[in-house]
Amino acid sequence: MSTTLFIVQTLNGLQLGVLLFLIAAGLTLVFGVMDFINLAHGVQYMLGAYLAVTFYGLTGNFGYALVLALIAALLIGLLVEVLVFRHLYERDHLDQVLATFGVILFVNEGVKIVWGAAPRNLPIPDFFSGSLRLIDGLNYPIWRLCIIASGLLVAAGLWFVVTKTRIGMRIRAGATNAAMVSALGVDVRRLFTVVFGFGAMLAGFAGVMVAPILSVEPGMGDSVLILAFVVIVIGGIGSIRGAFLGALLVGLVDTLGRSFATDLFRLFLDTSAARQVGPAVASMLIYLLMALVLLLKPAGLFPAKGR
């Protein structure tokens, strides 16, 4: 294990973390502010990627595709909120889980009907298609650095909106005590809709950004959603800061675990045993981390104030 390899793997972990943050940010806001469990959040991420593919096919320009996909993701998010989710805020969590799970099934099959079952492709925009030579024989694509940069920018922007603006204040107040905010004359329903649409758009943005490096296929949001839930449980529900730090932690632990667990076990096991045990432990690491956090700090590492 060389130092450069460790640095590269850290960078990879950071990139996965930033990606998870983009998805988890919307999820934690919706969960924190509205107390609403939205399993269909991963669907927004998938739609973002598919919309980008379609708009790229129409315009041939990644920038236009990104903007159009974001607008479409926002509109779809608002539409689903009005049609389905709005009727579920008062219901208990089980009803929400059932209904949003239904939305997942519905949209996954819908995507297959519209775009087909075969995976789709979105090329990296030409301007960012280069790569940096980090270690001998390995190029680090500039696009991955773009993902990290855009995630950090979004994090900074969110921090500004949530802590420095009036709407951010309302969101924080809503996360603390929605009934009281409503009693003070804020239209909580509209606040919810704004938060929801924004969260959907963030997930769509994550989908657009990863489409060039991942396979765009039906159900691509489902596995990401589980990781996003792990992130918000570790970070603390309703907390943007928690989602950010939780996402980076999960990204780093997962990536470094996958990279070095086998080598680590090889220090005291023989090679074939290490190859068996290493990946098994690596795939458990983030869940072990979550269990540990739940044991020591049940509200998460950085809980939203007042919860």
């Binding site: 297959k112 075969a118 024989g137 991942l214």
Partner: protein, 390 residues
């Protein structure tokens, strides 16, 4: 009285017509995975099978083909329920299916117990090839190890000394590595087990680059393969470290990976450029009808239709006598898309040539695989010797 006679006559005529129709048709239940992320494999196999029937004029062995297509949803329990419905309610003469081995292991016994012929257009788990082989089972695809073994043999022949293996951490991934190692005698520098349905392979790719092997062998089916191949190319490893694969680079994933996969190798018994009239006609009509390049799953589905056709002909068009039909399958002979007369081993799996194929961008801008070299001639699987059937 006259009216009564007329009515009776008409009724009789109908009854005769109905009996006639019954004797003139063969009922085939087709069970494939047609929903979920892996649906594209089932779609290729279904489209290939239906194109085969179209080429045969809507008939199988001269009998009108009555096809019932069902979706196993890639769930063994759903597969068992639906296959039982095919056997008991629809009373199918032949079952064609399935794509995935776990579903195959669940449905094989109910089909065999009903003394019904099972034609696999894809899945070929080792238990069905070895000790657990059945006289009711016939495959138009391969035993699961075939393509992994072909890649191992190719790596050995190419003189690669150090190879890194990567596969998902589940049974098929472990089988894949075992299959590769059966003919490869060089050094396995590392065996990387990634998580099933992993998205980002950056960590694994960095590790591969740091190990500097002579070649990489990957088994990453479906979306995992698309992710891995794209990221492999983006990391600049494509073209530098030879990429050998099985069920990773094919016409189901090429539309998504496109240029990233060009030049990568895979093992297969068939590729669209194979030079023989049956395959040429199949590829041309498939591309015309479905607007995409057929993958090997489509070719296997097409051959399933041809095999059933030849078997019913050999049985003299009698499908009611199941045992006679079964024996007819064994001696059925037809020109396969593989370019040679189709030959079955004692365990019901094909004896066939296996190639190393390479992804290319064709002159018309579409992506497809092309044969590079023949790795095995008259390949038989390693399990046939354990099969008690003669």
């Amino acid at each position: 009285m006259r009216k009564f006679l007329a009515t009776a006559g008409i009724a009789g005529a109908f009854a005769l017509a109905a009996m006639g129709a019954q004797a003139q048709s063969v009922k085939v239940g087709v069970m494939l995975t047609l929903s979920g992320p892996a649906a594209v494999l089932g779609q290729h196999a279904r489209d290939g099978f239906q194109l085969g029937i179209k080429h045969l004029g809507g008939k199988l062995g001269g009998l009108t083909a009555d096809i019932i297509v069902v979706d196993d949803e890639l769930k063994p329990d759903v597969g068992v329920q639906k296959v039982q419905a095919l056997l008991e309610r629809d009373k199918v003469d032949i079952v064609v299916g399935v794509i995935f081995s776990n579903v195959m292991m669940a449905i094989a016994k109910p089909v065999f117990d009903a003394n019904t012929i099972l034609v696999s257009p894809n899945a070929g788990p080792s238990p069905l090839a070895g000790r657990g082989c059945s006289p009711w089972f016939f495959s138009t695809a391969w035993q699961n190890d075939q393509n992994h073994e072909a890649m191992g043999k190719y790596a050995q022949d190419a003189g690669y000394k150090k190879v890194v293996l990567i596969a998902p951490n589940y049974q098929a991934g472990k089988d894949s590595m075992a299959g590769f190692k059966r003919h490869f005698k060089g050094e396995i520098v590392e065996e990387i087990f990634n998580q099933v349905n992993q998205l980002d392979f950056a960590a694994e790719i960095a590790k591969i680059a740091s190990l500097k092997p002579d070649a990489v062998f990957a088994f990453e089916p479906g979306g995992m393969g698309v992710n891995f191949v794209k990221q492999y190319a983006q990391a600049g490893l494509a073209g530098k470290i030879p990429f050998l694969s099985a069920f990773t680079v094919d016409e189901t994933t090429l539309p998504a990976t496109q240029d990233a996969a060009v030049g990568l190798f895979a093992g297969s018994q068939w590729a669209p450029n194979l030079e023989n009239p049956v395959s040429k006609k199949f590829v041309a009509d498939y591309e015309k009808d479905y607007g995409k390049v057929p993958a090997m799953y489509a070719a296997q589905g097409y051959d399933a239709a041809l095999l059933i056709d030849a078997a019913i002909k050999a049985a003299g068009g009698k499908v009611a006598d199941k045992a006679a039909l079964r024996d007819a399958f064994k001696r059925a002979s037809f020109a396969s898309i593989r370019g040679a007369p189709f030959k079955l081993n004692t365990n019901g799996f094909p004896i066939q040539d296996v190639y190393v194929v390479k992804a290319v961008k064709r002159a018309d801008g579409k992506f497809a695989t092309e044969t590079v070299a023949k790795v095995f001639t008259g390949y038989t699987d390693a399990y046939a010797k354990d099969c008690p059937l003669k």
